[in-house]
């Protein structure tokens, strides 16, 4: 049963062999970046106490850099591996703006509130 009212958008997305070579090279570069970032994260996670002598501010800085590095990795995966960078800007916004509002803000507010409750518990002497 053939339907002639459906537009096949993916037929326009084909590319040639030479373009394919350039694209594969780009993919390898992004893979390298992701691997290097992950390796650095794991090494810091395991050895930070030896390098920074277990200081609390060092851990704070490391925590925030982990979150930033994770967001960078997520950005590369979404924009290049999931090809969102090749899609229309309107579709990009539909996906990225709710993500920013709900997930990023949610994480921030939960960390803030849990910090507050932790401090209050200590002040009240419940811990």
């Amino acid at each position: 049963m053939e339907r002639d009212d459906i537009i096949e958008y993916s037929l326009h997305a084909h590319h040639s062999e030479e373009e394919g070579k350039k694209i594969r090279k780009n993919i390898m570069m992004v893979t390298l970046i992701l691997s290097v970032i992950t390796t650095v994260e794991v090494l810091v996670g395991v050895y930070w106490k030896d390098w920074f002598s277990s200081s609390a501010t060092a851990w704070e800085i490391i925590k925030y850099s982990y979150i930033i590095l994770t967001l960078i990795k997520a950005g590369y995966i979404v924009m290049i591996f999931m090809h969102l960078g090749d899609e229309r800007k309107s579709l990009r916004n539909v996906i990225l703006i709710p993500y920013a509002i709900f997930i990023l803000y949610l994480l921030f507010i939960l960390l803030t509130e849990s910090n507050f409750i932790y401090t209050v518990k200590h002040l009240l002497g419940w811990v």
């Binding site: 993916s10 691997s35 997930i103």
Partner: protein, 230 residues
């Protein structure tokens, strides 16, 4: 990749009806919708984890002291196996992108090859996750048979009960996504071999399961950071 998405189309025509204003097919749009909703679900779990982890910061165990096992050796290698699992999943994501790229050139053999590697990578990740659960449940003494110091949803020898609960729930929920992803990839691989997509003229189905697979990888990146590293 020059798709219709890169072409500038007059707004009146784009939103005038009878076509997709985002220049994507129905299937791809729905896959993105599902991914956003699933991302919010995982976001909810990770936020709950973040809250409890700081709320119970004094008693929260240190992950390097729990996850130091490596299969086939008794060496103390903190977080190395988890890092290896992360690499395996990232590499399977890369093979998936290469499968999609081969699909854009209508290269059936390339698609089959890279999709097969992706399925294998996913299966290895699942096996590794099962091994991690086995080691975690066995408890600090490393033996499954000693029920007294085993971890479960009601007993946790490593620290607060919530730690074990979150471990099982979040990695389990993620693992079920990996399992369904591997099954979907296998179905699409078999259909690619049989030539369904060659006949259609495009490999968009590979792109769609590719989106799901990358989402699974993305969630693991976040789970790895928030549970194991922070």
């Amino acid at each position: 990749m020059a798709g219709e998405a890169t072409q500038a189309i007059d707004k009146a025509e784009l939103w005038g009806g009878g076509r997709s204003p985002f220049s994507v097919s129905y299937g791809k749009m729905m896959m993105w919708f599902f991914l956003i909703s699933d991302a919010l679900t995982f976001g909810g779990f990770l936020s709950a984890l973040a809250f409890q982890r700081h709320h119970l910061a004094d008693a929260w165990p240190i992950t390097e002291e729990i996850f130091f096992h490596f299969p086939l050796t008794h060496a103390h290698l903190p977080l190395l196996y988890v890092a290896l699992m992360t690499f395996i999943l990232i590499i399977s994501s890369v093979t998936m992108v290469l499968a999609v790229e081969a699909g854009h050139r209508m290269d059936k053999r390339g698609v089959v090859k890279w999709l097969a590697f992706t399925v294998v990578g996913g299966a290895i990740f699942l096996g590794s996750q099962a091994w991690e659960w086995y080691t975690f449940i066995s408890g600090p003494d490393g033996l499954w048979s000693t029920a007294a110091d085993n971890a479960s949803l009601t007993s946790n020898p490593y620290g607060p009960q919530l730690y074990a609960d979150f471990f099982f729930f979040i990695t389990g929920f993620h693992g079920s996504h990996v399992l369904s992803g591997v099954i979907l990839n296998l179905i699409v691989l078999i259909r690619a071999i049989q030539g369904w997509y060659d006949k259609r003229g495009h490999y968009e189905m590979v792109e769609k399961v590719g989106l799901y697979w990358h989402f699974v990888d993305l969630v693991w990146v976040f789970v790895f950071t928030f549970f194991y590293l922070i």
